[in-house]
Symmetry: C2
Subunit: 130 residues, 2 copies
């Protein structure tokens, strides 16, 4: 492509990665520590494959990495600097400060959130919150 664009190509590419609300939401969930896919799934109530696709984009961009633990894949942030960009943009678009990620352990079936951690999610008892 045009040679003039060269210095801004990398920035533009990274902006493109951030230009999707699903990915921004996923990053906000990973922000305060690693989470497995099923946790993200439970939080966002979105299809697993859909989340996996976005996680792949983030991973290919070097923003997150994965660690396997038994059945589960735990994703974590490897480039926390992106949050400086994201927070600035978030403030710019009307939000004074980042939204804290509410870990609603009660409704999340993943082994990290659930008391009976380690059991297959399908065998865990979901505690109704009332």
């Amino acid at each position: 492509m045009s040679n003039i664009f060269k210095p801004y190509q990398a920035s533009a590419d990274l902006f493109k990665i951030l230009a999707h609300p699903a990915r921004l939401t996923i990053l906000s969930i990973l922000r305060d520590g690693e989470q497995c896919v099923c946790h993200i799934e439970a939080m966002l109530k979105l299809r697993q494959a859909y989340i996996s696709q976005h996680l792949k984009v983030l991973k290919d961009a070097g923003i997150v990495s994965v660690r396997r633990d038994g059945w589960n894949m735990y994703y974590h942030i490897t480039c926390p600097e992106v949050f400086v960009v994201i927070d600035t943009m978030f403030a710019l678009s009307g939000h004074p400060e980042p939204i804290p990620h509410a870990h609603s352990n009660a409704n999340c079936p993943c082994p990290k959130c659930h008391p009976e951690a380690g059991l297959p999610v399908s065998r865990q008892v979901i505690h109704s919150s009332e």
Copy 2:
């Protein structure tokens, strides 16, 4: 779309605007003051219509505004806060500080750069720089 994304939609939209090297380059030119389209054209050596298309995107997003002066349209930044985001991203992608925009007046035929300002560009004498 999904309700969960709502808080991040505006941020994602703005990221999308910034996710193009041509637009980042144009913004860097406008950074230190308004410029007419033909100045941008001369700096980037790109087709006029192409630049106009990107300027429209930036204008629709509320990042720049236009002022007419005779034949020329002068664009200027109306949302300088975006540079906080851009600079942060630029630093993140390997550049310690923003690239200063070199106004090479000698080669730019626009009325703002040229000594015989006010004449149609086509009638101006381009001073070779040697």
